[in-house]
């Protein structure tokens, strides 16, 4: 049962992931990326990451992708010519070949180290991945990095406003 759910979600994520990068218009890419993220959120449930799958949906698939769509529409970008047009063809070929090699290397690494790991993993406590657990860790062991993130967000917010605002003169 679990394997079937995973297989379904993985298939959706894989197909949508491929479609993200072959669209001629950025809006379609963004929509397929949302689908990928959504199916990944489902897979996160299988991994007992209850808090993370919620923020995956809210923050990633929600806020960030909305921001993307917002910018795409704001900029009013016309759909570009087919990405495999002649001037780019050689580069695309090289890139795809490199990616295949990369994927093969990752596959080899996984096959050599993790293929024998027991399926399903160890039994975990019922609190594993719950919001309460994550919150307790963030405010104890990871308090300092957690506070740093607030500075990062503040800097990003100010930076985004400064960069994107219209020049006054």
């Amino acid at each position: 049962m679990e394997l079937l759910v995973f297989a379904g979600l993985a298939l959706v994520a894989a197909v949508a992931g491929l479609l993200v990068i072959v669209q001629r218009h950025a809006v379609y890419s963004a929509l397929f990326l949302i689908i990928t993220m959504g199916s990944l959120a489902g897979i996160y449930i299988l991994l007992d990451a209850h808090f993370v799958w919620v923020i995956q949906v809210i923050v990633y698939a929600g806020a960030i992708m909305v921001l993307f769509l917002f910018v795409i529409m704001l900029l009013d970008i016309r759909s570009e010519p087919a990405p495999w047009a002649p001037p780019d063809r050689g580069r695309i070929l090289i890139a795809v070949l490199l990616s295949v090699v990369l994927l093969a290397e990752l596959g080899v690494a996984v096959a050599r180290r993790f293929v024998l790991a027991p399926a399903g993993g160890p039994a975990v406590a019922s609190s594993f991945g719950r919001t309460q657990t994550v919150g307790r860790l963030l405010f104890t062991d990871f308090l300092f990095p957690f506070e740093i993130t607030s500075i990062i967000l503040l800097v990003a917010m100010v930076g985004a406003m400064v960069l994107a605002k219209k020049r006054l003169h």
Partner: protein
């Protein structure tokens, strides 16, 4: 039947490779940016899989931080793209070659 760890990792590697292809082949800055997000998601998947199979919450906390950084990065990155678009009327990276000798 349970899912083996290697299945999660293979899916993660596949999505990462898709992101790499996207970054290396596309000329639209927005799509390149989305490909980067795709890679980040792929890495997050690996983190969560390892967290589950090692029975350690550290991986999940790390994913949280990755998301924070990704949010910040998207905000700044999109602002830069807007600024560039305002100047050059394009988001085609092939036309952005100010770094050239």
């Amino acid at each position: 039947m349970s899912v083996p760890l290697s299945a999660y990792l293979i899916l993660s590697a596949y999505l990462f490779a898709m992101g790499v292809v996207g970054v290396a082949t596309r000329r639209n800055a927005l799509i390149i940016f989305m490909s980067i997000e795709l890679m980040l998601n792929a890495v997050n998947l690996s983190f969560l899989a390892f967290a589950r199979f090692l029975n350690s919450m550290d991986g999940q906390i790390f994913v949280f931080f990755v998301m924070v950084v990704a949010a910040a990065e998207v905000a700044v990155g999109l602002a830069i793209i807007i600024a560039i678009y305002r100047n050059k009327e394009t988001v085609d990276v092939a036309e952005l070659n100010l770094l050239k000798w």
